[in-house]
């Protein structure tokens, strides 16, 4: 997929199983929305093919649309329309819509039903967007950044609802840049960056079951030139040392308390003053960092 000269999504290949939750995880601008909108039939790929429920999302759009539910990243309602009115309108376009009262209640939209869309909070607009995606009882729900801008309680409600959808046989494809969201919800995670798939797997596979750990070393003065190499030699085989920027280094691998001592002694020997030295379990963030040398969340 390109926009002008910019390639937004390139050679991305992934499949999604029925009645699972799939997370497309990546930093802002990675191509998550473009990927989703290609599956929704909004964009025609310049190369390659997309099939959703066996249908071509562009050529077979009319047949496909009633079967999928789409939550856009923002907007999608008239500014003067009331929340309940908008949801009712979308429900009328479907043959067997969900019970509106139950759905609104479930998403906490009951008390803001009479409020015009433009006066809803960001989180309320998100919840209405999710309700509009689900009201037609789709087989697949494509949800773009479903919990962006939601407070913690609404996030939990949304997560529970998405899990319930999976339990009811709905396939959920979501994009997110929240690691915890992907880790908690997804059966499979596809990490993308610069429009390319850089890793795929279950959360457990990607974090290697939590058996590996990460040491982060942040210093006050820039590291000496060969710092990553010399630190790796000090730690021995099986670890990876990444220079994140001139003041921070990340060590990943089978690290434990004794590795922490090695790093500490290395600092002493190399006249490096640590500002912080932390040991943690390997997370999706570490996976992303390892693969790209960058942090995912800015």
């Amino acid at each position: 997929m390109r926009y002008g000269d910019k390639v937004a999504v390139d050679g991305l290949s992934l499949t999604v199983d029925r009645a699972t939750i799939t997370a497309v995880l990546g930093p802002n601008g990675a191509g998550k929305t473009t990927t989703l909108e290609t599956a929704e039939g909004y964009r025609r790929p310049q190369a390659g093919s997309v099939r959703v429920l066996g249908l071509d999302p562009v050529a077979d759009r009319r047949a496909l649309l009633p079967r999928i539910g789409v939550m856009l990243q923002g907007g999608g309602a008239w500014s003067g329309v009331r929340a309940d009115e908008m949801l009712r309108h979308v429900s009328r376009l479907h043959a067997h819509p969900l019970d509106l009262e139950a759905l609104s209640h479930r998403l906490g939209l009951g008390e803001c039903g009479r409020t015009p869309y433009r006066r809803l909070s960001g989180g309320q607009q998100q919840r209405l967007g999710l309700a509009m995606a689900l009201v037609g009882r789709p087989e697949i729900a494509f949800v773009d950044e479903p919990t962006a801008g939601m407070d913690p309680a609404a996030r939990r409600t949304t997560w529970e609802l998405l899990e319930e959808l999976r339990g009811a046989g709905v396939t959920v494809v979501l994009t997110t840049h929240y690691m915890d969201e992907a880790e908690r919800l997804a059966d499979r995670i596809h990490i993308i960056d610069h429009g390319r798939l850089i890793a795929s797997g279950t959360p457990l596979e990607l974090t290697r079951g939590g058996h590996e750990a990460t040491i982060r070393l942040v210093v006050t003065k820039p590291f000496p030139a060969d710092a990553p190499g010399s630190l790796r030699r000090a730690l021995g085989d099986g670890v990876e040392v990444t220079l994140l920027d001139e003041l921070s280094i990340v060590v990943t691998g089978p690290a434990d308390a004794s590795s922490l001592a090695v790093v500490s002694r290395w600092c002493e020997a190399n006249d490096v003053l640590p500002e912080s030295l932390t040991l943690g379990q390997r997370t999706l963030e570490d996976v992303f960092l390892e693969l790209t040398g960058r942090e995912m969340v800015s």
């Binding site: 909004y42 856009l72 999608g76 009115e85 043959a95 509009m132 319930e164 959808l165 046989g169």
Partner: protein, 255 residues
């Protein structure tokens, strides 16, 4: 409270039901908006009353009683304001707010969206014609029974102006659409032979006859003054409608 059964049961509503829902929604939103209502009813009624009163003091050189000429002209003005200005502005902001994109992923096809929009316009127009007609009758309007000609004029006028309105909304940003649609409306109201006949514009009247505004005014005036059908005017409206449709089809972007 019924339990939420989330199991998939997809399906589009029958096409007529979708179109009816869309038309009702469009009409409701338009009537709720104060500016739109001003444009739809208040301005035409002021023009009608002002025109009839003014004609008592200034000779407009009209062939019939002023109220009989002005009332159909104002009905034409009302149709133009709804089918062109209101539609263009509403559609411009729908593009901006992602409404068209959102509906684009619903079971409602584009043909259904367009049909719903046209249906919404007709609902408003019926309301407008009723209000302007009643005010006209109160001022002594005595229309000929040209119902067929009037209906054809409203239908083809809506076709022409809606096609042109969508063209404007499809190529400009929402704010620019707002400005352009209002400006064009004012220019056509003042100089487009919609309220007053082309014969009132002297030599310029030969130009206004070919404008969609002059043709719409002419079509409804011939129907209400003589009970006839202004085929030439209807032809001009049809031509503008075809032109607007081609332009819109080539340029309109749904986002």
């Amino acid at each position: 409270m019924t339990a939420l059964d989330l199991s998939p049961r997809p399906g589009a509503a029958p096409f007529p039901r979708m179109v009816a829902a869309q038309a009702a929604m469009e009409a409701r939103l338009m009537l709720r908006n104060g500016e739109q209502l001003l444009l739809a009813v208040v301005i035409p009624v002021i023009v009608l009353i002002g025109g009839v009163e003014g004609a008592k003091h200034v000779d407009l050189g009209l062939s019939h009683r002023p109220v009989d000429v002005l009332t159909p002209g104002v009905i034409a003005l009302a149709v133009m304001s709804t089918a062109f200005t209101s539609l263009a502005i509403a559609t411009g902001f729908e593009r901006r707010y992602g409404v068209i994109k959102r509906l684009g992923s619903s079971p409602l096809p584009r043909s259904g969206l367009l049909a719903g929009k046209v249906g919404g316009l007709f609902v408003i127009e019926v309301f407008q014609v009723a209000v302007v007609g009643v005010v006209g009758l109160l001022l002594g309007w005595d229309p000929a029974k040209g119902v067929g000609g009037t209906l054809l004029g409203v239908l083809l006028g809506t076709f022409a102006f809606a096609a042109l309105g969508l063209f404007v909304a499809g190529i400009l940003r929402a704010e620019a659409t707002l400005a352009a649609a209002n400006l064009i409306y004012l220019l056509l109201m003042a100089a487009g032979a919609v309220v007053l006949p082309s014969s009132s514009y002297g030599a310029f009247g030969h130009v206004t006859e070919w404008l969609p505004s002059g043709a719409l005014g002419g079509a409804i005036r011939s129907a209400c003054l003589d009970g006839g059908v202004g085929w030439r005017d209807l032809g001009v409206l049809f031509g503008w409608g075809v032109l607007g449709t081609i332009l819109t089809a080539r340029t309109f972007r749904w986002e």
